[in-house]
């Protein structure tokens, strides 16, 4: 051996060498997730849909407070002599009238909702006069009701329970569908534009999938938190403190379950999307996963008052993110139940991610017709 052959390491400039480390898995994942998030913020469709969603949340809170406030007072013309019946009634705002003719004028002009006039022959001593239909709110305000006592009072107002169920269901459904289809599109985009081959020659399929799932999960999570914060601020500002009470624990559980449940769904969305090569085919291939998201949404709306269905839902991984927080809210769940359900969800999510990665890795480079599931699983 006269001259030693230069090794590969000798060739590259030493100054550059220092800047270049063998990329670790977490670094690659962070870069990929960062790109997903950056590109999402650059999408006008995403920014607009988020703005609309936020406005809708704010509007429903504000409108709720306006309607709630409107109920409280109704203007009535009170003909002299009937004021005793109206005084001290919070629901009615009396407008004094000299006689019945003046009161009728006010009613016809729409200044008041009804007239309360003295009538000696009536048991209550007054008559309520309406314009074209019985003024029910006024009648109700003046009615004498017996005291009601319940032997087994329901823990929660059923209307409120319905609203909370609807809220959990809708938020989960909307976020899972929105970000699920976003991740599906992002997977197919890489396949369709063929950039995936360059990526796979640089990072592993696992890093690519993990980065995508984390990037989109962070976005979905941020949106959920933003909605929650906006709703809470809205409720506080408009003074609807009542609604907030008792929601706290269940909202925390909802957020925890959502985080795990979304990762599971995201992996499944990514895996199924990887089986097709064109954006047009995403819809048909991801339908089974979409169903998994829609079923709990409809179940919770129809069965939020059925403890048996709720109990089952709270343990089935796909509906647990909605079912378990609901039961926590209703006070039906034992303290350990959310933990047990979360364990089941975590295990299922791990399996889903494992299967998802397999399908993803085996399908990414197969362009052309849709990859069959068996083929994708075998590799």
């Amino acid at each position: 051996m006269s001259t030693p052959t230069p090794t590969r390491a000798d060739r590259s400039r030493p100054a550059d060498r220092a800047d270049r480390a063998a990329p670790r898995f977490v670094d690659s994942v962070a870069l990929i997730a960062g790109r997903e998030i950056r590109m999402r913020f650059r999408s006008k469709a995403f920014l607009w849909s988020t703005a609309v969603l936020m406005l809708a949340v704010l509007a429903s809170v504000v409108l709720g407070s306006i309607f709630g406030a409107q109920e409280s007072t109704t203007k009535v013309a009170v003909v002299a002599g009937a004021s005793v019946a109206v005084d001290g009634n919070d629901a009615l705002e009396p407008v004094p009238a000299y006689d019945q003719d003046e009161a009728e004028e006010m009613l016809r002009a729409g200044e008041v909702e009804a007239i309360v006039a003295p009538a000696a022959s009536e048991p209550l001593g007054i008559t309520v006069i309406g314009l074209d239909s019985p003024p029910e709110s006024v009648v109700a305000a003046l009615a004498v009701e017996p005291t009601v006592e319940l032997l087994e009072p329901a823990a929660t107002d059923p209307t409120l329970a319905y609203l909370v169920a609807f809220g959990f269901g809708l938020v989960f459904f909307m976020s899972a569908i929105t970000f699920g289809s976003t991740i599906a599109q992002s997977v197919v985009e890489e396949k369709q534009t063929r950039v995936v081959e360059i990526l796979l020659s640089t990072v592993s399929a696992r890093a690519l999938l993990t980065g995508k799932v984390i990037g989109n999960s962070v976005m979905a999570f941020a949106q959920i938190v933003a909605i929650a914060v906006l709703a809470i601020i809205g409720l506080l500002v408009t003074g609807q403190r009542v609604l907030l009470g008792g929601l706290g624990t269940s909202v925390i559980w909802f957020v925890v379950f959502f985080a795990v449940g979304f990762v599971m769904l995201a992996a499944l969305f990514a895996a199924t999307a990887a089986m097709v090569s064109r954006a047009e085919d995403i819809g048909s291939v991801t339908t089974p996963v979409t169903m998994l998201v829609m079923i709990p949404y409809f179940l919770i709306i129809f069965f939020n008052d059925d403890p048996t269905v709720l109990a089952v839902m709270s343990y089935v991984p796909f509906s647990a993110p909605v079912g378990m927080p609901m039961r926590v809210f209703l006070g039906e769940a034992q303290w350990w139940e959310p933990f047990a359900s979360l364990a089941i969800l975590l295990a299922t999510a791990a399996i889903a991610v494992w299967i998802g990665e397999r399908i993803y890795r085996n399908s990414l480079l197969k362009t052309g017709p849709r990859v069959r599931l068996g083929e994708a699983l075998q590799g």
Binding site: T5, P6, T7, R8, R11, S12, D16, D19, R20, A21, A22, P23, D27, S28, L31, I32, R35, M39, R42, E189, E190, T193, R194, V195, V196, E197, I198, L199, L200, S201, T202, V203, S204, L365, T367
Partner: protein, 294 residues
């Protein structure tokens, strides 16, 4: 030195690669030639680890390739593509960072390379807004931005305009000159012939010939000679022991029965006029290709 040894790949029943063995030397521009479906893309995908081989080995400097080694490869796949909505500079920096470069160096490398490829003014344009020619240059930037120590390019010249071909040739030659093994496939035999130090010819998943261009030409040289002289070379038809294959005025391509007959031709030609060339026929890559693939 990048070495493939007995690499085999099956797609179902079909044997796509059958004991593929060849080497790409350090600093050698190696052309990879073969018809459609011969196995070029499959071979390159296996080198990059994008596809797993069913058998055989790929080694670099004698050691089996690791994931970390492959991160230092530059690759241009046959199926071109980048993120259409990302900006050119952003995209190249992103790829460099995926390969492990620090943000600052990734950016410096990318800017330098875009300048070199004539894309500096387009740095902030999205990929989808670039012209087709510039998109191809962008693809080259994507393959080179991380300063690869081994370069594997699948059809880098296909669809390039002549100016881009020139740029790419220059870039490839530079990378090879820095000591990196460079392997590229091409249908354009004239480019391969002009550019390459070494050649690998593949057909039906088997390597039919490989080695330096010089060696292959010698190996496949014909026994034909070429004469170019002033005046008419028509007399050659009557020369003893000579068979003229092609003829045009003062130029002729002929086969000689013996060395003596050939020397007699040279003497005669010098007597009849001035001899411009008298040489063995130059074997083109196209000829070698036809011969080994047959």
């Amino acid at each position: 030195m990048l070495e493939l040894h007995d690499v085999t790949k099956r797609y179902g029943e079909r044997l796509a690669l059958d004991a593929v063995t060849f080497t790409v030397g350090d600093g050698r521009l190696t052309g990879f030639v073969g018809g459609n479906g011969a196995g070029k893309t499959t071979t390159m995908r296996i080198i990059l680890g994008v596809l797993a081989a069913d058998g055989g080995s790929v080694t670099l400097g004698g050691a089996a390739l690791t994931e970390a080694d492959r991160r230092r490869f530059g690759y241009m796949p046959e199926e071109r593509g980048l993120y259409p909505k990302m900006r050119l500079l952003e995209q190249t920096v992103y790829l460099a960072r995926l390969h492990g470069w620090s943000p600052a160096t990734a950016r410096r490398n990318a800017l330098e390379l875009l300048e070199r490829l004539g894309l500096a003014e387009r740095a902030d344009d999205t990929i989808e807004s670039l012209s087709l020619g510039n998109q191809q240059r962008a693809q080259i930037a994507a393959a080179l931005v991380h300063r690869p120590e081994v370069l594997v390019l699948d059809e880098p010249f296909s669809g390039l305009d002549p100016m881009a071909v020139e740029t790419v040739q220059g870039v490839l030659a530079d990378v090879a000159a820095s000591g990196a093994p460079v392997l590229f496939s091409s249908h354009q035999l004239d480019i391969v012939e002009r550019l390459c130090d070494d050649l690998v010819i593949i057909a039906d998943g088997r390597i039919r010939a490989s080695g330096s261009g010089e060696a292959l030409r010698t190996q496949h040289a014909t026994e034909r000679w070429e004469l170019l002289m002033t005046g008419d070379a028509g007399w050659l038809r009557q020369a003893p022991g000579i068979r003229v294959d092609e003829f045009d005025g003062g130029w002729a391509l002929f086969e000689a029965e013996s060395d003596a007959a050939r020397r007699a031709v040279l003497a005669e030609a010098m007597a009849r006029g001035e001899v411009v060339t008298f040489t063995r026929e130059h074997t083109t890559l196209a000829q070698i290709f036809r011969e080994v693939v047959r």
